[in-house]
């Protein structure tokens, strides 16, 4: 077993807290929530009470007053270990919109929205993706027109995680010409006239995630709801993606660990051809391969965290690690299912759920193809 020099007593204590929370408050209900297609709102508040939504948020707005990317990664790994990505996406969705609010919103907006979002009393979601493009942010078509001291937003967003129940949104809309240099960010409240939403419909996985399509029919927001500078939203969106991707890499680690642990435990118990499954060489090789890939991914993640904590943002490495993350998860989910056989194929088994959630990790937050391209572009070629 590897020991990592980054695990301070506080980080270890936080890991233990989140792990126990997941064991007691999430895992026993995972299958029921997934089948029901939703989670009780109390889970948002219970998770909020742990402080996991407060990283990088000022204490005045209910946050922790400091950030630590290791703690973000630890929370992501432990949430991945819940083996129900949809539920974790629902509660974690706010984490990709509180950053822009903290950095760019007026004090009035921060006072109004952040304490409720960070505590889990209310939900927040980020709206960038549109039917016409997800990773291709530059083609964004939702428009915002200036009208006196208001902006009037028209258009729609889709695949918005947490979008069905969120009270507050940060959305991207076009305020200038085509391309990268015409996008601005806005703060929108769900009860604004002209705003409506609907479920995206049945999904392959992430059943318990409240994923929405948002409609903006001449939604009027005060001018101060523009976050940051006009037409300069693209950079903020790109910066924000780094933390989202890091959280997804961490979740891949946690989910892959469940694949390894559950299939190993099963292989020890299960007997075939007169001996435990674990004594068959073909099974041992699967376990060794899963274990090695997870070690590599986790070590990569910790070095990325270390680089960020040292003051630089390794954009290319985050992109590459996200590909490695979903590829590792794909491998582990498949191999674990092979070891478990029919038992793992039954609805309600964690491995069956994880298997259905592989693709959202390979597509959401920047697809594997876009991630590879981004990584190579960072090389300047």
């Amino acid at each position: 077993m590897l020991t990592y020099p980054f695990m301070t007593p506080e980080r270890t204590a936080f890991r233990d807290t989140v792990r126990r929370f997941i064991e007691q408050e999430v895992k026993p209900f995972a299958s029921d929530w997934d089948e029901a297609g939703e989670i009780p709102w109390a889970l948002h508040e219970k998770a909020g009470a742990l402080g996991i939504f407060g990283l990088g948020i000022d204490e005045a707005y209910g946050g922790l007053g400091f950030d630590d990317v290791f703690l973000r990664a630890i929370a992501g790994i432990e949430m991945g270990r819940a083996g129900i990505g949809g539920a974790m996406a629902s509660i974690g969705a706010r984490n990709i919109m509180t950053g822009p609010l903290q950095a760019l919103a007026s004090d009035t907006i921060k006072e109004k929205a952040l304490p409720d979002i960070v505590s889990g009393r209310k939900g927040g979601a980020l709206g960038i993706t549109e039917a016409g493009g997800g990773s291709d942010v530059a083609s964004l078509a939702t428009r915002a027109e200036r009208d006196g001291d208001h902006w009037v937003i028209s258009g729609s967003k889709t695949f918005i995680t947490g979008g069905l129940k969120a009270s507050y949104f940060v959305i991207g809309a076009r305020t200038g010409g085509p391309g990268l240099d015409g996008i601005s960010l806005f703060f929108v409240e769900a009860d604004t006239p002209g705003f409506t939403r609907a479920s995206v419909g049945a999904k392959m996985g992430w059943w318990s995630s409240d994923t929405a399509t948002l409609y903006f029919d001449a939604v009027r927001v005060p001018a101060e709801h523009m976050l940051g500078e006009q037409d300069k939203g693209f950079l903020a969106i790109m910066n924000n993606f780094n933390m989202e991707r890091l959280a997804m890499i961490a979740q891949c680690v946690g989910m892959a660990e469940v694949c390894l642990e559950d299939s190993t435990a099963y292989a020890v118990e299960r007997h075939t051809f007169g001996k435990p499954l674990i004594k068959h060489q073909v099974i041992r090789h699967k376990i060794a391969d899963m274990s090695a890939k997870i070690d590599a991914l986790k070590s990569y993640l910790w070095m990325i965290c270390h680089t960020i904590e040292s003051g630089s943002m390794p954009v290319a490495e985050i992109a590459k690690a996200k590909v490695l993350g979903s590829k590792t998860l794909e491998f582990c989910a498949s191999e674990a299912m092979q070891i478990l056989g029919g038992a793992g194929y039954l609805r309600g088994h964690a491995i069956e759920r994880i298997y259905r959630e592989v693709k959202v990790m390979a597509i959401g937050g920047g697809s594997e193809e876009i991630m590879r391209d981004l990584a190579v572009r960072q090389m300047g070629v």
């Binding site: 007593p9 506080e10 270890t12 204590a13 936080f14 807290t17 126990r20 402080g51 922790l64």
Partner: protein
């Protein structure tokens, strides 16, 4: 009122304990250690008493190796105010622990000592009772409810016949049962705050206690494996087999 809560570092309750190959004890290397679950319940109860305005300070104390500092930090992250580590690497036996705790009680003068009813490693269930005897204090063991009343405590105990409520004069010793409460999760802000809470480091010598074990462990073995049973075809056969074994008349 001050509350003293002794906490023990033990093998985590989720770990499948394995006997060492040389039969001298159980495997402790690379094994996750945590606070004894009954002690966690004691810490939680102390915090609830403090939150209700019935206590001013909670002191957690652990007698064990340096690593027991982590266990104290867990208590501090839950909400205790300060800690005392009595650094001792060897095996701890209830009487020696009770003697150290008595010396700490003499120093600190708490109005209540809340202990887990037993530690899940040796399952002795003796320390609280021995401490009560050494101090000459009232004791309420296996508590499922603790209330302040009549200048002392009303303690509801889980006994074989049901529930028994006893009245204790203060100061007193209370040991906690499983159903007293559900311990809270240490939140991230509280984990960070716990880092700055003080922990005093002491040795058994500071309290004049000789910790040397009075008992010798001869051999530790796995419990015998349960042998496979047999299947019976009918109720009549089952009754016959039970009679044969003398299980029923």
């Amino acid at each position: 009122m001050k509350i003293l809560v002794p906490v023990k570092r033990v093998v985590d309750y989720n770990v499948k304990v394995r006997v060492k190959s040389d039969n001298t004890g159980v495997e402790l290397s690379n094994v996750k250690m945590s606070m004894n679950p009954f002690d966690e319940i004691a810490v939680e109860e102390a915090i609830r008493l403090k939150e209700a305005g019935n206590a001013d300070e909670i002191i957690v104390v652990s007698i064990g190796p340096k690593a027991a500092t982590e266990t104290l930090r867990t208590g501090l992250a839950m909400g205790a105010d300060r800690g005392i580590l009595v650094d001792y690497d060897g095996e701890t036996e209830p009487l020696a622990v009770a003697k150290v705790l008595k010396a700490i009680v003499d120093d600190e003068q708490p109005g209540l000592v809340l202990l887990g009813k037993q530690a899940i490693d040796d399952d002795c269930s003796q320390t609280g009772q021995m401490l009560a005897q050494l101090l000459g204090w009232a004791q309420g063991t296996f508590a499922s409810k603790v209330e302040l009343a009549d200048g002392g405590f009303h303690v509801t105990r889980e006994i074989d016949g049901g529930l028994e409520t006893i009245k204790l004069a203060a100061p007193a010793i209370v040991t906690t049962d499983l159903r007293l409460n559900e311990p809270r999760y240490a939140s991230l802000p509280n984990i960070m705050k716990a880092k700055r809470k003080p922990i005093d480091e002491k040795t058994p010598g500071d309290y004049g206690v000789d910790m040397a074990p009075r008992l010798t462990t001869l051999k530790v073995e796995e419990p015998p494996k349960r042998e496979a049973g047999i299947k019976v075809e009918s109720v009549a056969e089952l009754v016959g087999k039970l009679k044969e074994k003398g299980a029923i008349a």
